[in-house]
């Protein structure tokens, strides 16, 4: 190699050594918790509140802070449904209201209306219930 090429190599590697590690450190610091693995979702702490349902795929728990009820859904494994919508059912003539949607593995928190007595996770494409449970 010519001396110019040798110099260019050195400059490139010095620049890479100064810049890339900084980006890598920031990238590692930004990694979200809980850590999601291929098989199951690993939670850094146990779900809070009273547990409504806990199986291999889902965990659901209800929290009450003051007068507000919240629902925490943990999706532990990839869903086999392309669409998953959560509805809450109230005691008033069994009316349903939209709570939210869930997708990939992770932890989801939703606020529930007063008087919610049941939770239904519904696959709108396959038109079938994934979960239907009473609180």
């Amino acid at each position: 190699m010519t001396s110019d090429l040798r110099k260019a190599h050195k400059i490139i590697w010095m620049m890479l050594l100064l810049t890339v590690p900084v980006a890598l450190v920031f990238a590692v610091l930004e990694i979200r918790t809980p850590v999601i693995h291929d098989n199951d979702l690993v939670l850094s702490e146990a779900p809070s509140g009273s547990i409504v349902l806990d199986n291999e795929s889902f965990s659901m728990s209800i929290n009450k802070v003051g007068e507000i009820h919240s629902l925490q859904v943990v999706v532990k494994r990839p869903l086999k449904s392309p669409s998953a919508v959560i509805y809450g059912t109230t005691s008033e003539e069994n009316r349903e209201y939209f709570v939210g949607t869930i997708a990939e593995k992770g932890v989801y928190d939703f606020q529930l209306n007063d008087g919610t007595k049941g939770i239904r996770i519904y696959d709108a494409i396959k038109e079938k219930d994934i979960i239907n449970t009473e609180l």
Binding site: S3, R6, K10, I12, L16, V20, A27, V28, I31, R32
Partner: protein, 343 residues
């Protein structure tokens, strides 16, 4: 070194080397598939292919990047350098499978152009954690494509060695893009301490190896002759040069190689016209200086490749005073015949 262009210039060594590449790749892929099926049997075939070929390309890229500096530090690695091109093309093909399947899996099933989708499906360019990391891999793949498609000597000749070398030095920014692609992509979704540590250490090792070699070379470049008289610089004692080998000497920031052969001394530029290999680290074989990188040859007294080849390097005047060798600072035009010093 070949007179006519052939798709692949096979020889016994290259065939053996390529068989090892194929064998290594197959072993890696089979091992990856076996471990994945044992630890995560639910993985889809698309995901398995994407991951297996992605990690394969990453591993091959690391091997490719260490060959250069290792060959500078130890001549035993020179055969790897000689054959490195096929490893580079293999790495590109593995990257292409990874990128192609990823594009098909994540971007080809919508109603927009898959390439357009790579850049627009996620617009969080101002976020680190949600950065559209696939764009980084896409640019790296483009660079690998340009490198693989121009790796043949036909392109080296027609692009000119200078342009070709600059194009192929793009592998360094491409490597940075790949590292960031993994750290902002796979490691955000499935971080594993072992993988993060391994890739981080791999980067640091390669960077230090290149810089260590670079600074070691700088010492050679900074060596100056203690005796300079009327344009002549003292090189060394005759006995310091082994038979059929050379003494490398730095003259006006560029290196020359003073060869001893058949009781003669000749000096030529140290940089091979093919890929810039260090001629002074080669040997005189069949009367020709032979580049240690890819075997390009030059006649020591005139710096010309033996006919029908046309490569030429600059030559220098030498003189002998007692047992001391001196070289004149001014180079002759490439291919100029210079009477060798008779010992």
């Amino acid at each position: 070194m070949g007179l006519n262009y052939e798709l692949v210039l096979w020889n016994k060594h290259k065939k053996k080397y390529d068989m090892w590449i194929v064998f290594g790749i197959l072993i890696y892929l089979l091992t990856f598939v076996a471990i994945t099926l044992i630890t995560n049997a639910e993985t889809s075939i698309e995901t398995l292919i994407i991951r297996a070929f992605g990690t394969l390309a990453l591993a091959l890229l690391h091997v490719i990047l260490v060959i250069g500096p290792l060959a500078r530090l130890n001549k035993r690695f020179l055969p790897l350098l000689y054959n490195r091109r096929h490893l580079g093309v293999s790495m590109f093909l593995a990257s292409l499978v990874h990128g192609g399947f990823s594009m098909f899996q994540f971007h080809a099933l919508g109603d927009v152009n898959p390439i357009y989708s790579i850049f627009t499906s996620n617009l969080e360019y101002d976020s680190l954690v949600d950065f559209p990391f696939q764009t980084l891999g896409f640019f790296a793949l483009i660079i690998f494509f340009l490198m693989a498609s121009t790796s043949h000597d036909f392109w080296l000749k027609n692009l000119s060695p200078k342009t070709w070398k600059r194009l192929h030095m793009m592998v360094y920014p491409a490597y940075a893009l790949v590292i960031l692609h993994v750290f902002l992509g796979a490691f955000q979704q499935q971080p594993a301490l072992g993988s993060i540590g391994l890739l981080g250490l791999g980067f640091v090792f390669i960077a230090f190896l290149h810089l260590y070699t670079g600074f070691k070379e700088r010492k050679v470049d900074r060596r100056k002759s203690k005796v300079v008289e009327e344009g002549w610089e003292f090189v060394c004692e005759i006995d310091e040069i082994p038979e059929d080998q050379a003494k490398i000497f730095t003259l006006k920031k560029e290196r020359i190689a003073v060869f001893k052969y058949e009781n003669r001394l000749s000096a030529i530029a140290n940089v091979c016209k093919h890929q810039g290999g260090p001629l002074g680290e080669g040997k005189v074989v069949d009367g020709c200086v032979t580049c240690p990188w890819h075997g390009y040859q030059y006649l020591p007294h005139n710096g010309q490749s033996p006919p029908p080849f046309t490569e030429k390097v600059a030559t220098y005047r030498l003189k002998k005073v007692g047992s001391k060798i001196y070289v004149h600072q001014e180079a002759f035009p490439e291919g100029t015949a210079v009477e060798p010093v008779i010992l």
